[in-house]
């Protein structure tokens, strides 16, 4: 288990960001993995991940979207009124991870009058040269837009440096994740999610220092049922479920940690960045999505997972639709939990989880 002081670091970072903005540099919010934060940094802005969730925010989001919109997107809109981190950003960067995220930018721009940078990533996943080239063109366009916003040109050298920093951050996450492969895992899903949350908040060097200081040290780990956690985004305020599970089981793999950390070598930094993000998995929303399903099956096998906990958000079609397919591909018992950020059914969910874990122990 790590002892990452997430709340303390968040508070400190909020103050830093507020100071930073007063000095001039822009703060740009982003949401889903796949946002090229390297470009944001190379343009002289500070990226922060906005992935808080929360029921109060979800309810607030109903002012602008229908109740059958994705709870994450609803809460994201709501958090622009409720969450101090959201209120610190000068602009947001959206990627068409799914259709709701593609449309979220328009809603944010319309309701909060914030500049929105929209990045188009082809949804077809076969890395055909013209598709990767199109994505590279879109990244170039984004670089120009960011440069116009920050008044700082994205240079080749600067982008390469930021890509290296980001690769290091991803490396830390995967390093931590790999420790879950042991028979008695020294780290938990909570640790990994904390690390991902901090990776979206801190500067890479600060994250590195934090990791080295508070890294895994659990010596008294006990073997428990081993689970793979897959599904929709787990927002920061939706972590109670993970913590409840980990009282009785070890989550040894998930669908959140990136498969690769390093961008492939290429003639230009932008080309390399395009190649990396185009092929990035896990990403269930791309078509065809067989590589992601295979990745999850491989992770389950390599980490010796005994079952799958599949957590989806209401109306999250990309993950919801895949339940039978992933169940078949992984060949493991699977518990599907579908819900929003409401805490009204927590007791019921916990009972289902306990019953599921008991069934594994039999």
């Amino acid at each position: 288990m790590t002892h990452l002081p997430v709340d303390e670091l968040r508070q400190r970072r909020l103050a830093e960001l507020a100071d930073l903005r007063r000095q001039g540099p822009k703060v740009i919010g982003w949401f889903y993995p796949g946002a090229p934060v390297e470009l944001v940094r190379a343009a002289g802005a500070t990226p922060v991940r906005l992935a808080r969730g929360g029921y109060a925010a979800e309810t607030r989001g109903l002012r602008w979207l229908r109740a059958d919109a994705c709870p994450f997107v609803l809460s994201t809109l709501g958090n622009f009124e409720l969450d101090p981190l959201f209120r610190l950003v000068d602009a947001v960067l959206t990627v068409n991870t799914c259709d709701t995220m593609r449309r979220a930018g328009e809603a944010i721009a319309h309701e909060f009058d914030l500049p929105v940078f929209e990045l188009y990533l082809p949804r077809t996943s076969e890395p055909l040269p013209h598709r990767v080239a199109e994505f590279e063109r879109q990244l170039g366009r984004l670089a120009d837009e960011l440069a116009a916003f920050t008044s700082q040109t994205v240079t080749e050298e600067r982008l390469r440096a930021e890509m290296a920093r980001e690769a290091h951050t991803r490396g830390l996450v995967t390093e931590l994740d790999a420790l879950r492969g042991e028979d008695k895992p020294q780290v938990s899903e909570t640790d990994v999610l904390d690390m991902l949350a901090l990776a979206g908040l801190l500067e890479p060097e600060e994250l590195d220092r934090t990791y080295r200081t508070y890294g895994p040290d659990r010596a008294d780990a006990q073997a428990k049922p081993r689970l793979l956690l897959a599904g929709s985004i787990i927002a920061e305020q939706d972590r109670w479920l993970v913590e409840a599970i980990e009282e009785r089981a070890d989550i040894v793999a998930d669908s959140f940690v990136p498969a690769d950390t390093e961008a492939p070598a290429a003639a230009t930094a932008l080309e390399s960045l395009a190649a990396y993000h185009f092929r990035r998995i896990p990403d269930i929303t791309r078509r065809p999505n067989g590589r992601t399903v295979e990745l999850l099956a491989r992770r389950a096998r390599e980490r010796r997972a005994q079952a799958v906990l599949y957590k989806t958000l209401l109306y999250c079609d990309p993950w919801n639709f895949e339940v039978p397919r992933i169940r078949a591909a992984l060949g493991l018992p699977l518990l599907h939990l579908d819900g929003n950020y409401s805490d009204e059914n927590r007791g019921q969910v916990q009972t289902r989880v306990e019953a599921f874990l008991e069934s594994l122990e039999k």
């Binding site: 979207l65 109740a67 059958d68 799914c98 895949e322 339940v323």
Partner: protein, 482 residues
Amino acid sequence: MVVPDLSFDGWAEKFASLPDELMAQHYYYRAQQARLGRVEPWSYYMFPPQTFALYGAKHLKRLSFDSSLAALRMWGFVQNETERLYRARQLGMKVVATMGDLGAVPVLVNAFPGCVPFYPDCTWWTPFVQESKVLFDAATRLGIGDATCYSRAALGAFAKHSYFPDPDLVVASTGASCDDYSGVEQLAAGIAAETLWVESPWRKGCATCGTGFAVEPGTREFLSAEYRRVVERLGRLTGHKPTDADLLAAIRKTNLVRSKTGRLRDYGYVQAALPALEMMVVEFGCLHYYADIDEWTNILDDLLRTCEQRVRNGERVAAEDALRVVWITPPADPLFLCHFEKRGARIVGTEYVINQALVPIAERGRPLDALAGSFLQASLIGSSRERADLAVTQARERGAEGAVISGILGGSHCAMESHLIAGRVKEALGLPVLQFDVPEPAREVNQQLGTRIDAFLEVLAGRRSQTGQTSRTRRTSPTGIP
């Protein structure tokens, strides 16, 4: 004078009076059969409505129809499509399922002799027409349950292997499209023999520009490269390599359908010469021409003649003082269109998510670029604001008094854009907007929704009486039809 509509029974009576010779004039796959030197009786399609009801289309009993022979011919053709696709297979044609893009890829399929395109997407109407949840249940078993767009019926149809022939090839477009149908495509790919994925690009950073959307440079060429893959794959399927002239010929045929549809839209929505239900069928004919573009073109000509005659005779299908509304997103249950008309409204404009199938395709330049250019006018690949403006433009031109947005619970684009579109219509025109979700298949409009619709129409009537306006519909349509 208002032309009376026709009930299911009225249609049956009318059919009984039709001479056999008339029915023998109407058959499909004319060119293919001409090559064989015969006309197979199975290719006649003017059946009595009982035939369709017997084969499951029970909802026909609840709908109201246009009474013209042209419209009944159209219904026969449309209802006959499933059989037609199986007959295509029987004739040795390649059956290509095109999914997701609603209008572009069939143009390419039609450039290949002996190929017939169809959209499994259109089975979203089937549960409503059949008043059956069989296809939804089949989709649920495969992972797509309730609270999802009704397009999930397409997955059920793939699984059932009986609503259309198993396609020789599936061309699945995805990208800037709804999550629901993208998910349907992914799961259908697990059932289909082969799926070719095609990207539908996100139209970004475009400002509304006259009657079309400005498109970011490079996007058209990117999409063109996607279409080149489709052409290559169809070439391998058929052993035919089309020239640019072949592709252009297919575009011209398509444009003919689109221009006739445009004229019918003017007749229907401006002059009230056709009811909304038939107009929806006409508009959706631009997707894949109900699997026979030549015969569909003939049917459109027949409908145009009917409309011309009605206008000449001063006939309309709705009262002069009917309340004018624009309709946004097609209703999965067609009964709603009839219901609105019965309650004193008429549809004067639509945004049925198929703008890309209605706009003309350029007949100059490289054919694939031209097709890509037309697809980039698509309803759903840009912003909600752009889509709203498609409706706003029609509403403004035709003096609409209200707007209706019919949605689907759980449909990703409905959830995200309905409020934005409603807001835009209110902001631009100050019109009342009714938003509702089409409920699951049923025999009638449920009471709660009926009350909401009545209240909405009362609001429109009240506003009209305050302003003293009755008919603000332009007498001259954009295409110049008097």
